[in-house]
């Protein structure tokens, strides 16, 4: 059976990962739509979709709740799903805010954190935040139990592996022993450097103060002080998410382009998934140039004569020249795919051709969905 079909019939959560620009957002939307076509109630959580893709899913702005794609949109695209498609665009910052609200013990603590300058700086930018928040949202959606299938897109990372480590990176940072070791004495000393007894800590603080200034240090210290007592919540949730990701309900689909280094990165990523106790479901080789038959054998002399002949001769010469160019790409791609086949069993991957149209509307997604099931 085709791996995507197999996944659709057995899994409840699909995570689409891969390096920048390979087609993660497109693939996740296409899979969710496919599931909806087959009668499921499917949700797709997209991250930074192209404007036109967002609008074909009926999304105008970031939202933290999925919206149902209207029947009108489907009718306009000439499709009639048996199930439902829900879509949302992740809003990282407000997800972070709502977590703070959940774990803080008092209203005052919430206010203090949300207004803290350090928090405002990091809540959108701290490395790993977007990934953590995507996971958080996934967990909430799953816990609600409203959907048969949740497909989640992942942020563009420089390399697919970053995605796996990201949520931990964020919690580790928030709960860093090193930081607390320095900051707690500072806070206790009421911000006075000289009162910090620990020599190493005070050297560190002096240096930080010199580099970034006292105000910044105060903001940070205040933030960590307010966060105190919330780490357990964060970490418990991170553990729960990790469990969910490792459970039988979840699988990962790794998207790649047919380029050599992209394929290499993707296979390495698949291995890493297994090593981390995560389920590697399938590899999608996306945007493979189309193929028709075998290379046409033409002698250069014949080509030259075609170019000089009249009627359709010169056109034919150009057509052959064009065909030859594409054979070079497909040969290279085949080489990469063959080497992929040696590393990942053939029934674990599918290829999706480079469409002659842009895959930004529902009908494009249907085409990709068909290929995902057929490839």
């Amino acid at each position: 059976m085709n791996p995507i079909g197999e996944i659709l019939s057995s899994k409840e959560i699909i995570v689409c990962a891969g390096s920048g620009g390979v087609g993660k957002t497109t693939t996740s939307a296409a899979i969710a739509l496919r599931a909806a076509m087959e009668g499921k109630k499917a949700a797709v959580l997209t991250i930074d979709p192209a404007k036109r893709l967002a609008s074909s899913l009926g999304l105008k702005e970031l939202s933290n709740e999925p919206r149902k794609v209207s029947v009108r949109k489907f009718t306009a695209a000439g499709i009639e799903p048996k199930g439902e498609l829900w879509a949302m665009m992740l809003d990282t910052k407000s997800t972070f805010d709502s977590i703070v609200e959940r774990y803080a013990s008092t209203e005052e603590q919430v206010e203090k954190i949300l207004n803290n300058r350090f928090y405002r700086n990091i809540s959108g930018t701290l490395s790993g935040t977007q990934e953590y928040m995507a996971m958080e949202k996934l967990y909430e959606l799953y816990a609600d139990g409203d959907y048969d299938l949740i497909v989640i897109d992942t942020p563009p990372t420089r390399n697919a592996l970053d995605f796996l480590d990201a949520p931990n990176r964020m919690t580790d940072f928030l709960d860093s022993k090193v930081l607390k070791w320095f900051l707690i004495p500072y806070m206790k000393a009421g911000g006075g450097l000289f009162k910090v007894a620990n020599v190493a800590a005070s050297t560190f603080l002096r240096l930080v103060k010199k580099i970034v200034g006292a105000e910044v240090l105060d903001d940070t210290a205040e933030f960590f002080a307010n966060l105190e007592g919330m780490y357990d919540g964060f970490k418990q949730r991170a553990r729960d998410v990790a469990h969910l990701l490792q459970s039988d309900a979840t699988t990962f689909i790794v998207v790649t382009s047919p380029a050599e280094e992209s394929v290499d990165e993707a296979t390495f990523f698949a291995t890493r998934l297994n090593g981390s106790g995560l389920h590697f479901g399938a590899l999608v080789v996306n945007r493979v140039h189309p193929r028709w038959g075998d290379e046409i054998e033409v002698r250069d002399r014949q080509l030259a004569r075609l170019q000089q002949s009249d009627g359709d001769g010169p056109l034919l010469a150009k057509l052959i020249f064009n065909e030859r160019a594409f054979r070079k790409v497909t040969t290279l791609e085949d080489r990469n795919l063959n080497s992929l086949a040696r590393k990942v069993p053939r029934h674990r991957w599918v290829r999706v051709p480079y469409l002659e149209q842009e895959a930004v509307d529902l009908s494009g997604l249907v085409l990709i969905g068909d290929q995902l099931i057929a490839g």
Binding site: V208, I211, I296, L306, L315, L332
Partner: protein, 327 residues
């Protein structure tokens, strides 16, 4: 534009959305500069290791190393840049490990957003000044992807505003001056002729001009399918297909002793249709790019023989030279 003028700023910053060809174009620019007799250093900041591979070199590290004649490669890692900074600035030769541990760097980055970026830019400044280490005529920065790049380039301004006095304020100002001087630095954005990369390019450009005030050079529109067929060719091809008259091509082929099977005709038509459709999409997006910016655009061809290797980079370098000469 003459190449002398094109290569006048010592620092060329290459950026764009993920996967659009930044590293490939950065490498091609290095080849252009080296052909022009410049000693070039190309700096990678993402530790991805793609760039040395393009030159057939093994790994690179913080210390510039010659990858091919006249082209040096290095990888700027914030931890090492911090160690160098602390050493140069505070003469802390043997800094405690804590200070250069990644947690510390993370912390520093978070406390003063952008400090990590400043460390990287600071290293570029050291290279530009050439007070220590090898001297370079051209420094090419294979910069982070566009969104990150804006944060990256605005870091010195942010810091210079946040820290009102002291050595760090002064140093941040030096970096701002470096970035804002068109004789010293310039950004080249790379994009694909597709919706998302182009809208990101235009947004980025706006911020580069208005907020960061850094000079921008030609935008490189990468991987544009070449016009193998003219409009007239496409029209004729449509006629043939509409009439189901592919055998007219068979006749033309037979005239030169070439036998085309049905399958061959399908392939010729299929690839013709594909390149025509993709080009039409690209041309449409390129038009949007042209409407959205006053900067010149240099189109770089899609390489049918791509794959990570020097010959492809040389070909892109040829196209850059041609494109720049026409400006």
């Amino acid at each position: 534009m003459h190449l002398d003028e094109f290569l006048a700023p010592k620092i060329l910053i290459v950026s764009g959305k993920g996967g659009v060809g930044k590293t490939t174009v950065a490498a091609a620019l290095a080849v252009v500069a080296a052909r022009h007799g410049h000693r070039v250093c190309i700096a990678e900041v993402d530790r991805k290791g793609t760039m040395p591979k393009l030159f057939g070199a093994t790994d690179i590290d913080y210390k510039p190393r010659e990858m091919s004649p006249g082209i040096y490669g290095m990888s700027i890692v914030p931890d090492e840049a911090l160690a160098e900074y602390l050493d140069v600035q505070y003469h802390m030769k043997r800094v405690s490990r804590v200070f250069t541990s990644s947690h510390f760097v993370d912390y520093i980055t978070a406390t003063a957003p952008g400090l990590k970026d400043i460390l990287v830019l600071g290293k570029i400044w050291y290279l530009e000044q050439g007070r220590t280490g090898p001297q370079f005529d051209t420094i090419i920065l294979d910069a982070p992807a566009a969104g990150h790049m804006l944060t990256f380039l605005s870091a010195p301004m942010g810091l210079s505003d946040a820290v009102r006095a002291g050595p760090l304020h002064r140093q941040a100002d030096w970096l701002v001056q470096m970035l804002r001087d068109p004789r010293r630095a310039r950004v080249h954005l790379v994009t694909l002729a597709e919706e998302m990369p182009i809208s990101e390019t235009l947004e980025t450009m706006e911020v580069l001009h208005n907020r960061i005030q850094i000079d921008t050079g030609p935008v490189f529109a990468n991987a544009v399918y070449p016009a193998h067929l003219t409009t007239a060719d496409v029209k004729r091809m449509d006629e043939i297909l509409d009439d189901g008259a592919l055998d007219e091509l068979t006749t033309a082929a037979e005239a030169v002793g070439l036998r085309l099977e049905d399958e061959d005709l399908q392939a010729l038509a299929g690839y013709a249709r594909f390149i025509t459709a993709r080009r039409a999409i690209q041309v449409k997006h390129l038009r949007k790019l042209k409407q959205g910016t006053q900067d010149p655009i240099v189109e770089l061809p899609f390489l049918f023989t791509a794959g990570l290797a020097l010959p492809g980079v040389e070909e892109i370098a040829d196209s850059i030279e041609e494109g720049v000469a026409k400006l």
